[in-house]
Symmetry: C2
Subunit: 199 residues, 2 copies
């Protein structure tokens, strides 16, 4: 029913059924993994009103740490997740996979993709872990905004008026307002073509 | 032998064999497509020394425009490509799929993924179209570098020494060297944690 593909590796259909509504794929050497694709093979759809919540786990000495990545449904039967940005060791006791794991069960030493078949309404309330969505415009825009804020704050702390300057004949000075001008132009260009900066 | 998956859609195994070494998948409504995954299903490997060069085509009034995306091999049996950044209308006469298309053949009105089975040495000489690789550290680093270069050039053009300043009591001035300082710190932080900027 489900397929799992780590970019660069062979596609996996070796899922294991943990219980009635929970399935897992083992992911070897997950530290080297960047993107994972999870998809319906097409052999069997979800029951009506149900979808698959996708989780990822890092093994850790304290136990298995599951994180919610996103979902697939009959209407959206495949999705790509970026796991290279996932932090390790955030054990979430409320995670359905934590509850499905039997106490005293052998700790996993390998990472896993977990698929929980649940009502879509329930899935809609879950929030994906940070840094798991594939890149898009808003990532670059968010990155630029944060970086420029950071730079603006840093540069402002060095900003002085002419009255405060000591003689420094070799120093080139720039008005702080130049940053605002540049940022306005940048925003305009991004709204016209998000890839303008590559040329 | 090959599978093709558009993120968000059902996986496709409906490839058509154009000739002995060329295969295509039709991609409907490609304008709405962000990422495409191309992979070996595992039923049959490539012959030794051979791999699959992956191309993408936009239909256009002048004919089909093919662009090289990348490749898969037995050692790297899957890959994800971002096609949302591909420009349309770059007809490349040297593209193997152009040569495989019969003169006078019905123009395609749908986009296609093309797989050309070729010696890996030949594939290694092809250069992927811009903006087709999934995001990773180097994308952000490249983006930052280009943006900061652009900003540095812009800011420098406003840089003047004290000797050149007219009285402007309300203006805050920043030494141009402040940008260098900030950029050094930024590079160091990125090398320690590529996602530091998100927090």
């Amino acid at each position: 029913m489900f397929g799992c593909l780590v970019a660069g590796r062979l596609v996996q259909t070796d899922m294991q059924q943990v219980d009635l509504t929970h399935f897992v794929f083992n992911i070897e050497n997950a530290d080297a993994v960047n993107h994972i694709v999870v998809f319906l093979t097409g052999t069997m759809p979800f029951p009506e009103g149900m979808g698959g919540a996708i989780h990822f786990s890092w093994p850790s000495p304290e136990g298995v740490a599951w994180q919610f990545l996103g979902y697939i449904t009959n209407e959206k039967p495949s999705a790509i997740f970026k796991i290279s940005g996932l932090k390790k060791g955030n054990i979430s006791a409320n995670n359905p996979f934590m509850q499905a794991t039997q106490p005293g069960q052998q700790m996993n030493t390998v990472s896993q993709i977990g698929i929980a078949v649940e009502p879509t309404a329930q899935i809609a309330q879950q929030i994906p872990a940070k840094n798991t969505q594939t890149s898009n415009v808003s990532n670059f825009t968010e990155f630029t905004t944060k970086m420029l804020e950071n730079f603006y704050n840093f540069a402002s702390s060095f900003g002085i008026t002419q009255a405060q300057m000591t003689p420094q004949p070799d120093v080139s000075w720039v008005p702080l307002t130049v940053l605002d001008k540049w940022y306005e132009t940048f925003k305009r260009k991004m709204s016209q073509d998000v890839n303008f900066w590559k040329s």
